[in-house]
């Protein structure tokens, strides 16, 4: 394989993880922020809100994990 293909794969790995981490990080932070707001207003539902927060964050995390997988593939498999 030519050098430039490998070079492009490595640059792509970096771009993929960088942009891919942007959304989940921001979204998960927003989720946790709103959960704090919700617990402040109705503390008796803290357990329920924390559970929903973690489920929502897990879904939001999925795209970050896709990015991680793709960048690892670009580094090691391409």
């Amino acid at each position: 394989m030519s050098e430039i293909v490998r070079a492009a794969a490595l640059l792509g790995a970096g771009l993929c993880m960088g942009m891919g981490a942007l959304g989940p990080g921001l979204g998960e932070g927003f989720t946790a922020g709103k959960a704090c707001e919700g617990i402040a207003r109705s503390p008796e539902n803290a357990g329920l809100i924390t559970r929903t927060m973690l489920v929502g964050q897990a879904v939001s995390e999925s795209t970050g994990i896709y990015s991680l997988v793709i960048s690892l593939l670009l580094i090691f498999a391409v």
Partner: protein
């Protein structure tokens, strides 16, 4: 005209500009948000103006750290990084990457820390008696948000000083890739953790009795948001040392 020796300087100077330029956006907006909220809070509680001024200055100093990291990297790029006699493409890529990673890396944390600080000022305006708890919680949240900028600083330092010299085009692109991964990867976690900290401070100011459960939720949420920043760090390390 385009010999590698000139291009090393070109890369170092562009990197220095990117570092200070991009990082100043976050720090500037964040500090402005803190000051604006402090002014509104002072309008509501003119008697607590000394506490508000102190909190505003502490929060602004912490917001400034990302820009100061970038300033240090820019100074190293201008006066320390490009002094190499026989440089190759890898050095060009790593100098440009060091500037990019530090600039983009402190943008998100600047915005996030600024948001947390602004919410703390607003909270003190609402509950001046809880100012100590609010300031302490603000500082914890801001420290969590700052970790992303510190990751970016680590990668920038590695790119400046620990990268092997040579002319491999693959390695050069890997360095730029590492800079993109860590630089953009810190934006989300940095800003996101700032939002968590800000909302937690806001909640404590409204319901001070719930502070323990709010701090716990803040820690859990911030840890989850931090995970993508750690993925980025891992990918950047792999690109620098393994690829």
């Amino acid at each position: 005209m385009f010999d590698t020796f000139s291009l090393v300087h070109v890369a170092a100077y562009i990197g220095a500009g990117l570092a200070v330029g991009i990082s100043s956006i976050g720090a500037g907006i964040g500090e402005g948000y803190i000051a604006g909220n402090a002014n509104i809070a002072m309008m509501k509680q003119p008697k607590s103006n000394d506490i508000l001024l102190r909190t505003m200055l502490i929060a602004q100093a912490i917001t400034e750290t990302g820009a100061i990291f970038a300033l240090v990297i820019a100074m190293l790029l201008l006066f320390g990084g490009s002094i190499v006699t026989d440089a190759g493409w890898q050095r060009i890529a790593s100098l440009f990457g060091a500037g990019l990673v530090m600039g983009a890396g402190s943008l998100g944390t600047g915005l996030g820390i600024g948001y947390a600080g602004g919410q703390a000022c607003q909270g003190i305006g609402r509950q001046p008696r809880e100012s100590k708890v609010l300031t302490a919680n603000m500082l914890i949240g801001q420290a969590l948000s700052e970790t992303s900028a510190i990751f970016a600083l680590v990668i920038a330092m590695l790119l400046l000083y620990s990268t092997p010299d040579g002319n491999s085009i693959v390695k050069s692109f890997a360095f730029i890739g590492a800079a993109f991964a860590m630089g953009f990867g810190t934006f989300g976690p940095g800003f996101g953790i700032g939002i968590v900290a800000g909302k937690a401070v806001d909640g404590i100011s409204r319901f001070p009795k719930q502070s323990s459960v709010l701090v716990r939720t803040m820690f859990v949420g911030a840890a989850v948001a931090e995970s993508t920043s750690i993925y980025s760090l891992v990918v950047a390390f792999l690109l620098i040392f393994v690829a």
